[in-house]
Structure formats: C-alpha cells, structure tokens
C-alpha cells in the first residue's frame, strides 16, 4: 500500500519546515504549496489524501481555496484541516462554512497537529 500523501499549503518557510520534520518520522508523504493558487493547482493535478490549509495566504486566501477545492469533484471528498488565526473572531465558523473538515488555531502544537492528522487519516 502506497504511503498516504498530505498537501500543506503555507507561505512561511519555517512553518513548512516544522511540518516537514514532524512528518519525516512518520509514514506520511508530504507535498508543499506556497500560496492559494499554487495549492489548488497542486491538489487538482494529483489529489492528496489530506490537505492542511493555512487561512492567510498570498494570492488567494485559505478559505477561498477551500471553497474552490470543495466545489471540484476531484477534491470534493478530500479532508481539509484549516489552520485558523485566533485573532480573527469567528474564524472557526468561517472555516466550517467554507467546507473544512477540522480546524486548528495557530500557533498549534506539532504534537496536537499530528494527533489530529492521525485521527482523520490513519497512518495506514
């Protein structure tokens, strides 16, 4: 059985590095995208098993990208965890409305993130 792929859409290099290193010790395979548009292209070209979507991204916001992915048949069923920003009131609700499977407030604990990923997408 091939390893499960996770797409992480995030513009900050260090945050991508955290997830990269966090998942390096697991059986998941990570792919990365650096903005909303890039995230959609990557996801549609080869739909991953799970998407981690930051809420604030260049070119297209994470919420907008989530809505677009939900609207496309290729990615409509892919679980999406939206990384929200606590400061923006009602982000949780907005993420749910956009079609997020789950959400996690930033700054997140890598331990909690991994637990959430495993909960939604068992390592296999």
């Amino acid at each position: 059985m091939s390893p499960k792929t996770i797409l992480y859409v995030e513009d900050n290099e260090y945050n991508r590095k955290i997830v990269r290193q966090l998942l390096s010790k697991t059986a998941y395979r990570l792919r990365e995208a650096i903005d909303g548009e890039n995230g959609i292209q990557t996801a549609l070209a080869d739909p991953p098993d799970l998407i981690l979507m930051d809420i604030q991204l260049p070119k297209m916001s994470g919420l907008e990208a989530t809505r677009k992915l939900r609207a496309d048949s290729r990615t409509a069923a892919v679980p999406i965890i939206v990384i929200t920003s606590f400061a923006l009131g009602g982000d949780d609700q907005k993420a749910k409305d956009a079609g997020a499977t789950a959400y996690l407030a930033k700054p997140y604990s890598p331990r909690d993130l991994l637990a959430k990923i495993r909960e939604i997408l068992p390592e296999g």
Partner: protein
C-alpha cells in the same frame, strides 16, 4: 391671519373700511394702554352725548307741554268770557222781571268778570285776535251803557221803555258780542289744535333724533370694540402661527404685524429670537456635520486599526508558531536525545513563548472589545462544564504551588445560553489570578444559582487588595503596584477583559478583599442572555 377663516363675520368686517381703520390704529405709534384708554374715552363720550341729547329732548317736550297748557288756559278763558256774557244777558233779562238792585249788581259783577278775563286773553293774544278783542270791548262798553240806561229805566219804573231798549238795543248788541266771542273761542280752539299737532310733531322728531343717536352710539361702541380687539388679536394670532412654525423647527422666519405698540415690539423680539435660533441651528448643523465627518474619519481609523491588529496578530503568530513548534519538537526529542543541561533552557524558551502568546491574545482581545468588533458566540452550555474545564487546566499549577484547590457547583443548574468559551476564559482569569497571588492556603471556585443568574465566585487566601484600590482593579493595566508585576507577572489586562465579557453577557462583576487575608471575586451571568431562544 387665522381670524379670516375662523370667523366669517370678522372676515367680512375686515374687508369693509373697518379693516383699514384696524390697520391704521395698529400702525399708530402709541402704547396699548393709551389705545385702550382712547377707545374707552370714545365710548364714554358717546354716553355723555346721549345723556345731553336726552336732557335736551325732555326739556323741549316740557316746553311744548307748557305751550299746550297755556293754549288750554286761553280756551278756558274764552269760554269764561262766553259764559260771563251769557250770564250778563240772563241777569239783564231778569232785571226787567224782578226789578231789584241785587240782580242789577249781578249784571255788573258778570260785566267785571267779563272784562277781567278779556284783559287776560288780550295779554297773550295775537294781533289778529287783538282786533276782535277791541271790537268785543267797544261793543261791550256800548252794551254796558245800554244796560245802565235800562237799569235806570227799571228803577224809574218805566218798564215798557226798558223792555223796548232791551229788545232794540241791548239784545242786538249782545248777539254781536256773542258772535265775536264765539269767533274768539273758535280761534283759540283752532290755535290749540294747531299747537297740539306741532307739539306732537316736535316730540316725534325728538324721539327720532334720540333713537338715531342711540343707534349710532351702539354701532360706534361696537365698532370701536371690534377695531381695538382686532388690533390686539391679530398680533397674538400672528405670534401663535409664528411660534408653531418655530416649534415645528422652521427657524429664521419673521413675524410681521402692522402694530407699532407693545405688540409690535413683541413681534420684533420674536423675529429676533427666530433669527438667533436659525443662527444657532445652522451652527449646530455645521458642528454636527463636522462631528460626523470626524466620526467617519475615526471609524475609518478604527477599521484600519483593527485590520492592522488582525494582520499584526497573524504576523506575530507565524514566527511564534515556528518558535513554539521547534521548541516542542526539540523537547519531544524529535531531533534526537536532548542533553540534560539543555532541558531547562528549552523549557524556559517554551514558557516565555507561551507567555508572549498569552500577552498578544489579551491585547488583541481588548482591542477588539474596545473597537466593538468582539461578538459573543452564543450556544447552549452548562455551568459545571465551565467549572470543570477551569479546574482541569489549573489543577497542576495549584499542585505545583502546594495550594488547596477546590471547585463546587450547586447541583441541578439548568442548561444555560451564552458564550461558553469566553465565560471559561473569565473564570480561568479569576482562578488563575487567585493561584498567582496566593503563596499558601487555598483557592476555591463556587457556582450557584442566584435568581435568574448563576453566580461564580473565586476566593483565595492571597495577598489581598488595599481597600482604596478595590474599585480600580478592573481598569486596564492596573495592578496594586509595580513590584507585584515583577513578582507575579501578568499584563494587568485579564480583569478588564473579564469585566467586558461579563458585561457583554448582561452580568456584573465585583470584588471583596482584605489586605493580607485574601480576596473573593464574584460575577453573575444571566441563565439566558438577552435574545436567547426560549429554554
């Protein structure tokens, strides 16, 4: 002018020359007092004229009546003369029969009476009558001389001669006198009738004049009353209309009245007031415009500020996410075993990173609350759930400090409606503070029903708050003093945020404390916040 529409009679009168008089009187430069006085004087003069005319009429009627009386008198006298003549004739005839001196004396007596009365009539007679009277007198004198002859003949016993004389001379004389007297009486009667007619006419004239003057007086008095009342009522109506215009917010108009008296002054003052009101109104509008443009700018600035804060929050969190993430992974030995001497510094990095996150969150929360952007996420929740969450997250801290830590909830509390996350934050703030400021002893959380509210209390045996500062503990950045900040840490924003959240729920927060003995903080939250669906 409302009088025109309110009273058709007044409207009609105002179109007559009376209207011109009203405007003229209004325009007279004199005080209201004088105008009233003149109007009353006019009416008083009319009464006086009426009185004088009445007196004059009465006097003239009495004069006429005197004239009539005198005419009556003359008629009477004339009749007296007629009577005396008849008596003379009677006594002369009798003298022939009885032949005594007494009868002759009676003739003389009647003759005297005849002459006296004739003299009286003559006194008041007209020229035409005087001639008749002269004729009567001369005929009478002749008759008297004949009577004297007859008397002498009678005395001498010559009755036949006396009778002859009486028949041939005296009788025709008397007849002619009688005719003359009759004419006189007729004349007097005619005069009396003529006089009576003229007296009646004069009386009728007097009464007509008197009536006309009375009617004129009444009309003049009514007219002057109408004029004077209109002169005073118009400006009052004009002022009323003007004031209702003012009351409806139309400023700046003028009230114009023809009056040049106190009412004119009043109208001028009203116009002045209206101009002043218009000026103030314009000023106020300008000020309001200025305020609203400032408000718009402020709103823009506030929006810019909250956008800035939202961006800043994200910008601050992104590196903080990396710091806390790498630290946690290091401590979780994701990169391999951590040398023992690195363990404490790594824990310090994590503690301070979390503290920085907490500070950022509190500052952002308060900014949002003050900008009015904080909204409660209302849902059904249970009070025990909140208390349990707080106990769970603080239990280890209490244990570390060696403090007794208890939480009690009254059994049977109903489900509540509000923002559970924010209420948890409130109770966590209070309990966290209590643990922070207590070196030894205990911290107790209690939740119990209080009417339509639930009251949460947190009591401790900590350092307490000085009495004079207990009122300001909920103000921003307030801690009892700077040394406390150094020893216990904290932003001083927790209580302020807690108070705001409690008040957003329609609740109330307060504190009781004794310095050195401990503090108790209470807050009450309605079972269901306003606008909640029915339980």
């Amino acid at each position: 002018m409302r009088l025109d529409t309110a009273d058709p009679l007044a409207a009609f009168l105002l179109r007559s020359p009376l209207g011109a008089i009203v405007r003229w009187v209004a325009g007279v430069r004199a005080s209201v007092h004088r105008k009233l006085l003149v109007a009353f004087l006019l009416v008083t003069l009319l009464v006086l004229v009426m009185g004088a005319v009445s007196v004059q009429t009465i006097r003239s009627m009495r004069q006429q009546s005197d004239l009539l009386d005198r005419a009556h008198q003359r008629v009477e006298w004339s009749q007296q003369i007629q009577h005396s003549l008849a008596m003379q004739m009677h006594f002369t005839a009798m003298a022939l029969l009885v032949r005594d001196e007494a009868t002759i004396a009676s003739i003389l007596r009647e003759n005297n009476r005849f002459n006296d009365t004739l003299a009286r009539v003559e006194e008041v007679a007209e020229d035409a009558e005087r001639q008749t009277i002269q004729k009567i007198r001369s005929a009478q004198e002749e008759a008297m001389s004949v009577v004297a002859d007859i008397a002498n003949l009678v005395r001498d016993g010559k009755l036949g001669a006396a009778t002859d004389l009486q028949i041939t001379r005296e009788d025709p004389l008397y007849r002619s006198i009688d005719a003359l007297v009759y004419a006189l009486v007729q004349k007097q009667n005619e005069r009396m009738v003529a006089l009576r007619e003229s007296v009646d006419a004069a009386n009728r004239r007097s009464i007509t004049v008197l009536g006309a003057i009375a009617l004129m007086s009444v009309l003049l008095a009514l007219g002057s009353g109408f004029v004077i009342s209109c002169v005073f009522i118009f400006p009052v109506y004009a002022a009323q209309d003007f004031l209702s215009e003012l009351a409806s917010g139309k400023f700046g108009g003028t009230v114009s009245v023809p009056n040049r008296d106190e009412f004119g002054e009043l109208a001028a003052r009203l116009s002045e007031t209206s101009r002043e009101l218009a000026r103030l109104d314009a000023e106020q509008r300008r000020a309001a415009d200025a305020v609203s443009s400032v408000n718009a700018k402020l709103e823009q600035a506030s929006k810019a500020k909250s956008e800035f804060l939202a961006n800043m929050s994200h910008e601050l969190r992104t590196p903080l996410n990396a710091i806390l993430g790498f630290t946690e992974m290091l401590r979780d030995e994701l990169y391999g075993e951590v040398p023992p001497e690195f363990k404490e510094p790594l824990a310090d990095i994590q503690t301070n990173g979390k503290h920085l996150l907490h500070l950022i969150n509190e500052v952002l929360d308060l900014s949002k609350i003050e900008a009015g952007h904080m909204e409660l996420m209302l849902e059904e929740y249970s009070a025990p759930g909140i208390v349990d969450a707080v106990r769970a997250s603080l239990r280890s801290l209490a244990a570390e400090k060696g403090l007794e830590f208890s939480a009690e909830v009254e059994p049977g509390l109903p489900m509540m409606y509000g923002d559970a996350k924010r209420l948890t934050q409130c109770l966590l703030n209070l309990a966290g503070n209590a643990l922070k400021f207590t070196r030894q002893g205990r911290v107790a959380i209690n939740a119990a029903r209080d009417g339509e509210f639930v009251r949460y209390s947190v009591s401790d045996t900590g350092i307490g708050i000085p009495e004079e500062q207990i009122g300001t503990v909920f103000a921003e950045f307030r801690q009892v003093d700077a040394t406390i900040t150094r020893e216990f840490g904290g932003t001083g924003l927790g209580l302020t945020i807690t108070k705001k959240f409690v008040e957003m729920h329609g609740g109330r927060i307060w504190a009781e404390s004794r310095l050195g003995k401990g503090s108790t903080f209470h807050f009450v939250i309605p079972l269901r916040v306003a606008g909640a669906p029915a339980a």
